[in-house]
């Protein structure tokens, strides 16, 4: 096996000290460092959870909510379109005859397993009644047990749309 001798570039003291090359490489970092040192309000990093993100827009797909009709009754008619469209198979519906007389059919149970949900928004797309939305802006969901991550009809109905959503 032959040995290939590589010629070393840079013979001058400036090149061999690496100091200047180092600062060239750190130029952008240093520029931000000095700028932020003077004015801390522009720093992108936030100290979560004391500080909350400000870039959650109404389009953000957060935890779901079930919408209501003008008269306050549940809008969902338990047609199973969301459950059919769901790629994670995490929506569990039990239908029943309507009790409030507004329509014919309503969900007796409507549960979403948030641990299985992939927050793709297919359920919102599929809904023919605009009954399910993901515009709550809730991006964290905390619970102690696995079972608590399954949210049921009452909780879904209580979720409110975030400010600024239609």
């Amino acid at each position: 096996m032959g040995v290939k001798i590589v010629k070393r570039e840079g013979k001058t003291l400036k090149e061999r000290s690496y100091i200047f090359a180092l600062f060239t490489g750190l130029r952008v970092t240093l520029r931000h460092f000095l700028k932020n040192l003077k004015d801390t309000s522009n720093i992108k990093t936030i100290s979560y959870p004391e500080e909350l993100p400000k870039d959650i827009t109404p389009r953000y797909r957060g935890v779901h909510r079930l919408t209501k009709r003008d008269d306050g009754s549940v809008r969902c008619v338990a047609c199973f379109m969301c459950a059919t469209a769901c790629p994670a198979d995490c929506i569990f519906i039990v239908a029943q005859e309507r009790e409030d007389g507004v329509d014919e059919k309503m969900p007796k149970k409507f549960s979403i397993d948030l641990l299985e949900c992939i927050f793709c928004g297919a359920c919102v797309e599929a809904c023919p009644c605009d009954a399910i939305r993901m515009d709550t802006g809730i991006f964290t969901f905390i619970a102690q047990k696995r079972e608590d991550f399954v949210i049921h009809k009452d909780a879904l109905l209580k979720n409110k749309a975030m400010k600024g959503s239609k």
């Binding site: 338990a78 047609c79 199973f80 059919t84 569990f92 239908a95 005859e97 014919e104 059919k105 023919p128």
Partner: protein, 501 residues
């Protein structure tokens, strides 16, 4: 025979038969609402229009007799326009509430709209409203708005059950299907109108809102409610984290046995099936492990060689009976099959039979004794009684005997049995049955079980201490000798008439 040309393709058909029958039997898609093979033509929906060369206007295929040399077009711009216009008329007052309609997914209106419709509504005036849930009786719910007045249900009560409960009342846009005041729909076959209804106007109260139809899987089976053995579809679905439950039975066409219909009692017997799937093994009335009960029975059988009596019900399949016969030989036990599962009120002259056991003729064909006095003698002489397929022992004298039970039903009284072991229910095991009219039939459905319950064939093989066999092997090794002319592969597809005994 006549030769006609359909969309440029020549086909051989029967002369003077109805055009729609011949087209449908040649797999040519003709949209239709009012025509049904069991009810014949009515010609009111106008949906089955075809172009016939030489005729000025499009004609309805359901009321046109076939003539030799006819040239017919079922596709093309002209005929599609005609169909679209008719569909538009059908849908004028239709509420289009598919999301809450149980028919969605198996609805003729939906399918034809996707085939030839796809127009935007020109209607400016409000739709005529009707009542959304009218209870017609016999588990049938009517939605007047969805009805397209094909009158299939009316013709069913008029021609098939001859009970005439239904009719059309009011005129024009306000026409609705109705019963006569004080005379609800009440006949033992009433729920067939739900299957007949091509749209979601008639829905079953029993199935309503329980499951969307696109989730359901259909398996072929034979109804075991009575000795007729009607062909059915078993619609079941295993939802996530749930067990595989049956949601409904639907009639499956079998010209030899039941035609297009089944009775309501048979249709609703899926509930017992679901209930029986929860059956658990028990020893002296206490629940126990499956394997433990299985081995306990094996020990008792071995211990009581030549002192055992087997009593089997008349609802077991041929495969099971033939294996139990061999099992009885191995343990030198007597084998009887006196089964008093009759209800004289149940039978009628259409489909229902008074004999409620599904395979009584099978016992005769396999030469199993059905004599009551002989059975009582055998019971009196034996120490150990093994009941197979029974859940109620009130009519047997079992005092001072060890009573073992293998059954697909939940026992009436668990204390009756020293050891009780459930086996898989009718729709969870494949098997052959001989019906009341001596048709040999095969039930294919094998719906998965949630618990470790085995089927009776597996249990018999276990007690015979041989490797488990499948249904086809049993046919080859055991049953072929009893039915030399029957081909098993043919039996899987069709009912086969055999010689009565």
């Amino acid at each position: 025979m006549a030769t006609i040309s359909v969309d440029g393709k020549e086909i051989q058909v029967r002369e003077n038969a109805l055009l729609i029958e011949e087209l449908l039997s040649n797999d040519i898609n003709i949209p239709h609402f009012c025509y049904h093979p069991a009810l014949g033509k009515d010609g009111n929906c106008r949906m089955c229009m075809v172009e016939i060369e030489g005729k000025k206007r499009p004609q309805i295929a359901c009321d046109t007799p076939v003539k030799d040399g006819m040239i017919i077009r079922t596709k093309g711009k002209n005929i599609e326009n005609v169909k679209r216009s008719i569909l538009e008329l059908e849908l004028i007052n239709h509420p289009i509430d598919c999301p809450i309609c149980d028919q969605a997914g198996e609805c003729a209106l939906q399918n034809y709209y996707m085939d030839v419709g796809l127009y935007s509504s020109k209607l400016k005036t409000p739709k005529t409203r009707g009542k959304k849930h009218v209870d017609l009786g016999s588990n049938v719910m009517l939605d007047q708005e969805r009805c397209i007045l094909c009158t299939r249900c009316i013709r069913f009560t008029k021609n098939i059950t001859k009970t005439d409960e239904l009719g059309v009342v009011s005129r024009s846009d306000h026409s609705v299907i109705s019963t006569f005041a004080g005379h609800p729909l009440s006949n033992p076959y009433a729920m067939n109108v739900v299957d007949l209804c091509p749209v979601g106007a008639l829905t079953s109260k029993d199935f309503r809102f329980h499951k969307r139809v696109w989730f359901l899987k259909s398996d072929n089976a034979i109804c075991n409610r009575c000795a007729k053995g009607c062909a059915i579809f078993v619609d079941h679905h295993k939802a996530k984290y749930e067990q595989d439950d049956i949601f409904r039975y639907r009639p499956r066409f079998n010209a030899l046995v039941n035609g297009y219909f089944i009775c309501d009692a048979g249709r609703l017997s899926y509930k017992d099936e679901n209930e029986n799937r929860k059956s658990l093994p028990s020893i002296r009335g206490n629940d126990c492990e499956y394997e433990y009960a299985m081995l306990k029975i094996l020990r008792l059988l071995k211990h009581n060689q030549s002192k055992a009596a087997f009593i089997i019900s008349a609802s077991l399949s041929l495969e099971e009976i033939v294996l139990i016969k061999k099992l009885a030989n191995k343990y030198n036990a007597t084998l009887d099959a006196y089964d008093h599962n009759y209800n004289e009120q149940f039978g009628d002259d259409f489909l229902r039979k008074s004999d409620l056991a599904s395979n009584r003729n099978g016992l005769k064909a396999l030469h199993v004794s059905c004599d009551e006095t002989l059975m009582n003698e055998h019971i009196a002489q034996a120490d150990l009684l093994l009941f197979v397929g029974y859940s109620d022992l009130s009519s047997f004298d079992c005092t001072h005997k060890t009573v073992l039970g293998l059954s697909q039903n939940i026992p009436k009284k668990k204390d009756d049995f020293a050891v009780f072991l459930p086996f898989k229910t009718h729709t969870s095991k494949a098997g052959s049955y001989i019906n009341a009219d001596w048709y040999l039939q095969f039930s294919q459905a094998e719906i998965a079980y949630a618990n470790e319950t085995k089927n009776l064939i597996e249990l018999c093989c276990f007690y015979k201490e041989i490797a488990s066999m499948d249904v086809e092997q049993i046919w080859q090794n055991e049953l072929q000798a009893y039915f030399p002319h029957v081909n098993f592969q043919q039996l899987r597809k069709n009912s086969i008439k055999i010689e009565s005994l």
